[in-house]
Symmetry: C2
Subunit: 399 residues, 2 copies
């Protein structure tokens, strides 16, 4: 099959192109509207007003108060601020030092827990997940101790797309009086974000996952939840996050989020149909392959697999040569040679976890894109397996 | 005098408009070059390459190794990472918990020291300054104790423009074996940044002070200086700062810094002449006014004053009405009604410190701009003083 003239991008979980409408909304703030939002003259107040409007837009989508929205520099910062900020503040109040989280969190959560354990005297419980990547809310309830100060469970997993039972977990957290944070970075722009329906007290978002720019995020913090700022200086963001406001990106984030939720249903429906076509095609055309994550309760744009007898990275390079951008799991850990902690937590054997492939669809993908991938992928898999000593041994053993 | 058709911006210490050449350099990374720099396919590697180039550009200007350059989300983050990161890492190594800083630092440094003291068991010495805002290097030497783990003294003060004797302080720090951080946020784009000439081990920069975007900064960290990351997650920035890289802004920062240092001499010479015209004009035309900061050893673009019997804020609003953007001190603290901690540290009385005005010039300012301000300012001052009970009492006492 002919390599397509245009690159086919199927790694929307890693990042997205900025929507041209978002770029257009940001541009004036690089140019004539360049004021510092803390300045009292007109140019500064114009910037402050733009931030206020952006904050209201985000608050409307989260069904919260504008004051509960903190703009940060990325999803990782939001996660860090939630864990460190609440962890430290509540410990100061004598509310304990124990964090409950899952074993499939993004490193922004898990590595932060590890540092809090290693250097700041915290204790963490990492809950297991089932073979589909689901956290059992009852496990959360059982893990809560007298010194539990925070629960952090992701909304949807970035590698396998599984959607966690956030509202149920939130209900349990509320009954026990423990603040509940969810890393919604991968869910933002796709799943509902009403913080009351979700029963969450803190929620992280990152703009570049929903066609906004890289380098701006949100942390929602429910009023009354104590938070020690992790970045101190001027009194920006209601004293929660110091630093001159990144006006263009804050405007960009709000614009991107608004577009995503205005067009949510149509996009999700169309993209989920493409995802199903992709999953069925891969499972139907290739042997010794399994879908990872939950079969149905998954992000509408996420298709993830493990292929036996293959190194995921070889698959990616071959797909790249054929004009397709894909991932073996998380972009954030792609420099690592270790298999994904998420796949291992799902009970996938070490050697199989190495053969992971994540295809995450987006607004610009078409049926033709999916069909092209379904055309070329079997050949790539076959070629790579033919070079695999393990595969040969297995085939020989079977015959 | 007629209000000018175009706004006159004299608050370049607060922020600057993004140079159109910088916007042009950034734009492709919002559009077709939107890859995640951690992704292994071509689109991702293209982003990684852009970051590598930006890092080299910055390293060339700092005369350091690219690996020693960490991109952050702003100058405040850079300062926080320096203080918290080195503070925590060296304390873990048994290198003490005492920080030496000055009493005129930006809040990004001083408030971070305060939090480290209040919540993390650190101890801080705040060194005094003389009436011009200068730190005495011998004071630094005398303040260093066995448990001193970090020294942080700003390169140039953001409110009064005074340039500190960084190289001398660095020499003393080196002799005592204590890492030395300088907040160069206000100096970046104007003063030399060679980290070896400056004898610094850590240095903070913020792009929006030199015609780059708001929301991206640099922390230089000399090889061998231990640093505990304050934002954990993926292994970005050589494991020093997690979070998907903000490719457009990183490219923008490097482009802006390169332009600033290519055009440094001509800009500094021209702008310093405007500054001198402004200072001489204000001191010559208005009574009961004093220049704040050092008379000569000051940033080429900075003119700062205190006017007796006036509230700085009233002056700013009147200037704004006349089409001039100015500041009473730091934009970052402008929501506060307290007089500037910097002016108080210079020994300026509380009631006089309230009458501060900072005019910071930039590339687009002209002689006509300066002359316009010199035309209107005496009238504004006269009008405000006429309404001041203190002024009337004083005038009556004198006559």
């Amino acid at each position: 099959m002919q390599k397509p003239s245009k690159m086919i991008y199927m790694d929307h979980a890693a990042t997205t192109a900025v929507d041209p409408r978002v770029v257009e909304a940001m541009l004036p703030y690089f140019g004539t509207r360049y004021g510092n939002a803390s300045s009292i003259y007109g140019l500064g107040q114009e910037a402050a007003k733009a931030i206020d409007e952006a904050r209201r837009t985000v608050a409307d989508i989260l069904a919260c108060q504008p004051r509960e929205v903190i703009f940060t520099s990325c999803g990782t910062e939001s996660d860090n601020l939630a864990l460190r900020g609440v962890g430290w503040a509540r410990r100061n109040l004598g509310k304990g030092n124990h964090i409950v989280t899952s074993s499939i969190e993004h490193h922004a959560v898990s590595h932060t827990c590890e540092q809090l354990e290693k250097h700041f005297g915290f204790e963490t419980t990492y809950l297991p997940v089932d073979q589909h990547g689901l956290v059992d809310p009852d496990d959360v309830g059982r893990a809560i101790k007298d010194n539990t100060t925070l629960i952090s469970i992701m909304y949807a997993n970035n590698e396998v797309g599984t959607i966690e039972p956030i509202a149920e977990i939130g209900q349990i957290a509320r009954e026990k009086g423990v603040p509940f944070h969810t890393d919604a970075v991968q869910a933002g722009g796709t799943l509902g974000l009403d913080v009351n329906e979700l029963n969450v007290d803190l929620l992280s978002l990152s703009a570049h996952k929903f066609y906004g720019p890289k380098g701006v995020g949100v942390l929602y913090v429910r009023q009354g939840v104590p938070l020690l700022p992790t970045q101190t200086g001027g009194g920006h963001e209601h004293n929660y996050r110091a630093g001159t406001e990144n006006v263009p990106y804050i405007v960009g984030l709000a614009t991107a989020l608004k577009i995503a939720y205005e067009e949510l249903e149509a996009n999700n429906r169309r993209i989920a149909a493409l995802r199903d076509r992709l999953i069925e095609g891969v499972l139907g055309r290739i042997v010794e392959v399994a879908l990872t994550g939950h079969p149905t309760n998954r992000l509408p744009n996420s298709a993830s697999f493990v292929f036996k007898y293959i190194e995921g990275e070889s698959m990616l390079l071959n797909l790249d040569l054929a004009g397709v951008c894909a991932s073996s799991g998380s972009a954030c850990g792609s420099a690592s040679l270790e298999p994904s902690h998420v796949l291992l937590a799902l009970g996938i054997p070490h050697e199989v976890a190495h053969g992971s492939l994540r295809l995450t669809l987006g607004r610009e993908n078409t049926t033709e894109d999916v069909d092209y991938v379904l055309e070329i992928l079997p050949g790539i898999v076959q070629k790579l397996r033919a070079m695999s000593p393990l595969y040969k041994a297995n085939v020989m053993r079977k015959t």
